[in-house]
Symmetry: C2
Subunit: 720 residues, 2 copies
Amino acid sequence: MARTTGRVTLPSEGNFLEETKDIMKRWGADALRDSDGTKLPEEIKNLDAKIYTTYFVARGHNEFAKEHMEECQQLYLMSRRVTAAEEKVEIPFMEGYFDQQVTPDYVHDPKHWWEVMDRTSGEIVAPSSWEVNQRKHVVVVNNALPFHEYTVSFLVYAIWDPTQMYNHITNDWGDKPHEIPFDVRHPASGQFAREYLIQWLKDNPRTDVVRFTTFFYHFTLVFNDKAKEKFVDWFGYGATVSVKALEEFEKEYGYRLRPEDIVDNGYYNSTFRVPTRQYLDYMDFIQRFVARKAGELVKLVHEAGREAMMFLGDNWIGTEPYGKYFPEIGLDAVVGSVGGGATLRLISDIPGVKYTEGRFLPYFFPDTFYEGNDPCVEAKDNWLGARRALMRKPVDRIGYGGYLSLAYQFPAFVDYIEKVTEEFREIYDNINGSRPYCGLKVAVLNCWGQLRAWQAFMVAHALWYKQTYSYFGMLEALSGMGVDVIFLSFDDIREKGIPKDVDVIINAGAADTAFSGGREWLDEGIVTALRRFVWQGGGFVGIGEPSAAHFGGRFFQLADVLGVDEELGFSLSTDKYFSKEQEKHFLKEGREENFDFGEGVKNIYALSDETEIVEYSHGEVHASAHPYGKGRGIYLAGLPYSHENTRLLMRCLYYSVRKEGEMMRWFADNPLCEVHAYPETGKYAVINNSQESQSTLVYNGEGKASRICLDGCAIIWNTI
Amino acid sequence: MARTTGRVTLPSEGNFLEETKDIMKRWGADALRDSDGTKLPEEIKNLDAKIYTTYFVARGHNEFAKEHMEECQQLYLMSRRVTAAEEKVEIPFMEGYFDQQVTPDYVHDPKHWWEVMDRTSGEIVAPSSWEVNQRKHVVVVNNALPFHEYTVSFLVYAIWDPTQMYNHITNDWGDKPHEIPFDVRHPASGQFAREYLIQWLKDNPRTDVVRFTTFFYHFTLVFNDKAKEKFVDWFGYGATVSVKALEEFEKEYGYRLRPEDIVDNGYYNSTFRVPTRQYLDYMDFIQRFVARKAGELVKLVHEAGREAMMFLGDNWIGTEPYGKYFPEIGLDAVVGSVGGGATLRLISDIPGVKYTEGRFLPYFFPDTFYEGNDPCVEAKDNWLGARRALMRKPVDRIGYGGYLSLAYQFPAFVDYIEKVTEEFREIYDNINGSRPYCGLKVAVLNCWGQLRAWQAFMVAHALWYKQTYSYFGMLEALSGMGVDVIFLSFDDIREKGIPKDVDVIINAGAADTAFSGGREWLDEGIVTALRRFVWQGGGFVGIGEPSAAHFGGRFFQLADVLGVDEELGFSLSTDKYFSKEQEKHFLKEGREENFDFGEGVKNIYALSDETEIVEYSHGEVHASAHPYGKGRGIYLAGLPYSHENTRLLMRCLYYSVRKEGEMMRWFADNPLCEVHAYPETGKYAVINNSQESQSTLVYNGEGKASRICLDGCAIIWNTI
């Protein structure tokens, strides 16, 4: 096969010209980038490649920032909770925060901008009942109610950019200056951001692509007094707050946001919270501002004849790539880090940009590239995890980051990536922008819907959490499955109903979270829409605590659809007779391993003998199906990611719409393998998602099967 | 040692005179009773023993009942839930019920007495929107909202006594007549109950003790259309309902109860539900009626020179032995079935009777006494489990039930019980009514308090439930522990505060249940009372989901006391740094086995480094301690009953009040052994709760320890 080139971005660095040329050739790279801590020298910039240059808008300009400390970014923080043992209580509100990162805002009147909360009663303490001791950073509450807990929600200035702070502390950068984040909402900062960029574009004529890292507001990342992470929310709007923003919000929306609307009991409106109307308004307000301001910068880039690329992370807050204002920014491209299939789709599905780029793992840093370690292990895992998703919707480019000189010392790694880049281009060319065969259209229903497409259950980007992996596995499974995936919110259903072309709705998550839906399930409009949908032939797959909101004698409001409910203790007096597992069932055909529901959910029971129990153990149902009109409700107690579970979910989807017979059109019976077909280009591929060779029956789109063998990691292309 | 006699009740039967005399002598029995299905013949009645005769008030008189079917007992039942697929929906409300047990009440106007509920909206469907088809037992709802769920709450007559029904079906009694339960609230039934008893006392001159089995209302026990148990609530007031009762309630309380107040979403006010004011009113109303009416019967018994004994079970509803009206009944004695320590204390702690009797296991029935089985196994388990509790507060008598002729065929069993009866009398005499040494006073806090002393977490009497054993173990452990135990309700605290002499408060149970407390924890009066209590030196031990009610940023409202909370997903963004188990800790001193928290609770995390983590696994805290003022908060994820866990709880109690040093006053270091001291009588006992011989250090009340060895099951008495 002829060697291909392109669609690959490399990091490079000084004193590495010949090696860079060598790797460019081997990997077919057509773009070069700088990286955290590296700069491209002239000789590299003059190679035959697009040059990406990292650009920071709101940090790294201390000469400006120090002269405009009143334009620093701000946050609302909540103090720790202090119990009043007597009527006077002192709240040392800065306790537990890192004074090098944040400093209290005493410029704006605390009596107006801060809030002391009685967390026991839920009431605001009247400003007349407390005073601030600015010297000690203490709020003194008089007339406290003994044994009530009190907190202070207070404004701070952020005086250290969180990403630089993290790198600074991690790499022990000593007295290297702290980069101060400024807020472009303020006049001087806004003007500076524009003017600096104009000059910078002039000063960097060789830059083809301005890689914004990113725009204005970092995701919420707050450190503690030991200079360690205290709070991290990759979706958090914490750093977008300022007195100016709050005033402008009030003017525009006609009501004033309370500190509590931001602080939210110390949860800070985590995406796990069913969002309040106030927070949704605030997000919308910030998004419009960010889109407008970022759009102005992008316009400058375009006027200078360059491309604008946004990094999906760091200061990305307010851009919301799946939000309605994102296209207004006018970006050419988005680049993001690929941790697996779902994070790849998070990038590749972004609408309204010319191209997307995935930064693959491992990052060329010493934590992976050290003597005795084989970086190919992580690379293979990453590639196999992401490739499934690429088959559904590829990013347009792939790339790497870090120190190329480090990776170059690992020849086997360089060889492996050479293979990967070839394989990527082959996939990309064979798909050629066409729509892959989708057997079903699946909608994931939660409070966030499309705005947070592929982003459900995440806390910090792509990190593992005990409380989330059993749900996130569903997204990961879907990311490479032969189905169309959309994300629906409860508001979508209220406003427009369930889209006609949706076959199956998935609701997954822990009770009361935004992903399960919490109080949304008390809206009869939602409940009846779902029941009607399934009754008329749709499928409903519930994972964990779907539709959970205790009301009217049910915990799962769709218990009638699912045929199961969770025993909260109140109905222990009712005999539970239904515990017999069905020996044979479509959902467990071909299964060789035991089920793995991850964390699972306790005390799920079947409501009647109409519930088909697929797995029952420890006195609980963990997998079941239930007929409901022309459709079915399927229950799973959890779905951590694995190939077996991906197959289980696929079976659930087809079974839920009573289309079991259609599952094996394009299909590999070995769950470690998958088939992706592209009717428009007349091609199909069989992939081996494992590193061992596999034998599988392959169904060719017309129900005919033939056995093939694939080497570990293999991909085999055929014509239809 | 001289043989003792007395305090033992035997069942007997026909044609068994000599053997009865033999066993009476060997077991020292001084009372004889009939049993289900046996009658004592004259020759037996003439033996030198008190004679107990079982007496049924409200069943077993079909000649009367059949002539007064309008005075049958009644129930409110809830139909199954029916989803409206269109505007007209039919609810076959009797579906799933057993028509030999209950029959719809069409005598009283359904439009007035029944309720059709829209369970999706929670609203009542106007009576004008539905009709009853009495021929088909169907309610037809017109103008239904499509895809809402509907139920009918309807009145039935109960036409078969549940206990007789159970025995009838279980033993296949064929065409033996069904005993019809009548309601003494009605004039004819009330009069009949009195007159029958008067005559019966005349007809049964040899009866010394009328063993009421029991009074008027059976606990709720409803069968399904397959003649199997559908719903069982040992505490349920279901069968106390009648039109007459509801009318009288309205007159007295000034408001009308809705069917929903009784049906309660199909939960029927399970004791796991935080009780509503309406249900508490209703219970009080029924209790007063039962006390008055039962008191009238007891008076007749006394007038005839006999004793009145009540069986704790079957038709015991409304008697509430721990309620405020119980003493008014004027009973001489209560007898109940002993399943272990907590059920023994449930009997022996009953105030206001002259004596209590425990019916021990096994029952002399063929399910235990069959060839090849050793009935001693169950007898030993039962005795060892109950003996611990006897040491704290003995019942005054022990007894057995069933067919003595059956037990007589097992000589080893007869030998063993001979030993048991001797041992019981020795314990009883040595305690001699004195108060055992109590190191601490412990209050169990839940919604029911003293009214349900020793009855928390029970569904059907003493049966094992997956959802309860991890909590019930706490009661079982306490039942034989060297501490004073009381039961407190939230109302008690609101009305009278926490009693001054309480050292430790325990709150245990699943979130939102009456045992944890649910919404009670949103009452700042409760929360602050508990905080103040611990702050001033009290102990708080939380098991499972103590003080759980999500509000103000906490799930456990006493998280500040406990130092732990449950992660619901909302605070995943907050870093959790505290996971280090303390290598040495008072709570795990002397521990040899791994911890067993039973079902446990997921996602418990420590709030700060002040929390002493005693057990941490699977990313969760399962046992911890936390200083709070002068007291401490202790957390356990569950406490199934075991000797190790009994010791763990004891350690928790002492640690919570910072009295670790006082635990070993009267103490055995081997957790399989316990020491009980009786300062008033100058005696103390060391018991071996295991069936194997044990060596233990015994602390003699003054901190001096000496080692002793005990045979399996042994009890050794010493003088102080």
